[in-house]
């Protein structure tokens, strides 16, 4: 036993990458060529970061030698490229606590309780981790977790309640359909009578509304009423003025936003939400803690995917030395090195 409060044995690995976006994925490849094994942590429940979450269908034209691909295609290709190196993904959890161990390694823990011990932690977190967008209403935080929710952790939380869901996307409609049988009453609030969700979900929602089992309200949340964290009513602004809707739970689904989160507390040199790095090694102000991609700044920095790829390659040189202080690193090309061919599985 280690005496650690976590029930899990720490995962020992050469590198932990925070952020499974394009730059994190390419870092797996570059690290893999040097024989370093990687684990990745991401707060999203899928791989790909902004490319997968914000613009999976949008075309990208400035990836070298790829004249055009979509955000999702780029991620799929990077995953294929990284595959020989068997990256391990830890999704739907946020890197939360970082601590220096006596032997100089890092101990990194996630919100899901996963623990790593590694010589190299790499922050490739883009604009930060994706978290639900909260209602910017005064006093809203008093209700959070008691009667105001931004995600469904347990469906049972909503049993027997008078629930209002705010939002017009797939998640709003999916939860309406799934929670309707549990709730005492349910309503959906959207700013207009058009929904950007799967047509089948929209049709099923309309059927619920027509049968009187769900209520459709058109407008926007304007205020919350209640005491001691217990919601009693939601004030709704509509084109015809403000109305009051009685309910004891509100599930607000307005998409995701990006914020730095716990890494802001790690003693890094951060300016305007960007981390300063040494451009030779892409180390931060703390040895063995690196940062690459959109989250960093240095003179001349451009927030381009291709810049992040370059930063990943340079970072791995120093990360190798951290992982293997006694070994010399020889520079090799993938075209000609039989050693690299073996690592890539093409020998």
């Amino acid at each position: 036993m280690t005496g650690s409060p976590s029930t899990q044995e720490p995962i020992q690995t050469d590198m932990v990458i925070i952020g499974a976006g394009p730059i994190g994925l390419f870092a797996v490849f570059e690290a893999g060529l040097l024989g370093l094994k990687c684990h990745l942590v991401d707060n999203l429940d899928k791989i790909g970061g902004q490319c997968a979450e914000l613009y999976p269908e949008k075309p990208i034209f400035d990836i070298p030698a790829v004249p055009r691909c979509t955000g999702q295609e780029l991620i799929d290709r990077l995953l294929e490229q990284a595959k020989p190196f068997e990256p391990v993904f830890h999704l739907d959890q946020q890197a939360s606590a970082l601590q220096r161990l006596e032997d100089g390694k890092w101990r990194l823990e996630t919100t899901a309780g996963t623990v790593f011990e590694t010589p190299n932690v790499v922050i490739a977190a883009g604009a930060g981790s994706f978290v639900p967008r909260r209602l910017p209403l005064p006093g809203a935080e008093d209700f959070e977790g008691k009667s105001l929710y931004y995600a469904v952790r347990r469906m049972e939380d909503f049993r027997g309640r008078h629930l209002l869901i705010a939002g017009g996307g797939d998640s709003a409609l999916d939860w309406l359909l799934n929670l309707e049988p549990l709730t005492a009453s349910i309503g959906i609030l959207h700013r207009r009578d058009e929904f950007r969700a799967a047509p089948d979900s929209v049709q099923r929602m309309r059927e619920l509304v027509e049968s009187g089992r769900a209520r459709l309200l058109l407008g926007q949340v304007a205020g919350l009423e209640g005491t001691g964290g217990q919601l009693e009513a939601v004030r709704i602004s509509t084109p015809d003025g403000e109305i009051r809707h009685e309910c004891d739970a509100l599930l607000a689904l307005f998409g995701l936003k990006m914020e730095l989160g716990p890494i802001a507390e790690w003693g890094l040199n951060i300016e305007r939400n960007l981390i300063h790095v040494d451009t030779e090694t892409f180390e931060t102000n703390q040895p063995g803690l690196f940062a690459i991609g959109d989250i960093i700044t240095y003179p001349g920095k451009l927030k381009l995917i291709l810049s992040g790829f370059h930063e990943a390659a340079l970072m791995c040189q120093k990360a190798f030395k951290n992982a293997h202080p006694d070994q010399r690193l020889v520079f090799r090309y993938t075209t000609s090195s039989s050693d690299l061919h073996k690592k890539l599985g093409v020998a």
């Binding site: 914000l54 910017p136 017009g168 996307g169 959207h190 700013r191 058009e194 307005f254």
Partner: protein
């Protein structure tokens, strides 16, 4: 050069010189006013949400389906709400007034 007026969230109005052909979001961002524009201008978020004055609204093509869909994720969306990344600045828009929508 054409100009535009931007009111920030403290109610202070800034007069900016607008590069023709830039999006209004880009003009606001390059002037270092606080606009998040998380997706960088590809109409994939609602963090460049602005209110435009009535005269300006009449000069703009109506929001398309994509812009409206992203505005669904906005807060305090009004009839004069637009995503500033979708407004291309031109000579015709000289003198327009926009206001930054609440941040959240």
């Amino acid at each position: 050069m054409a100009k535009l007026k931007v009111t920030d969230r403290d109610g202070v109005q800034h007069e900016l010189e607008g590069e023709i052909g830039w999006s209004v979001m880009e003009i606001i961002r390059e002037a270092d006013l606080p606009i998040e524009a998380a997706c960088g201008g590809c109409c994939a978020c609602a963090t460049c949400h602005v209110y435009v004055d009535a005269g300006t609204l009449a000069k703009l093509p109506p929001a398309d389906a994509d812009e409206n869909m992203m505005l669904d994720e906005g807060f305090e969306v009004r009839d004069n709400s637009r995503l500033s990344c979708q407004i291309k600045f031109s000579e015709e828009l000289d003198g327009i007034e926009v206001e930054l929508a609440p941040e959240y």
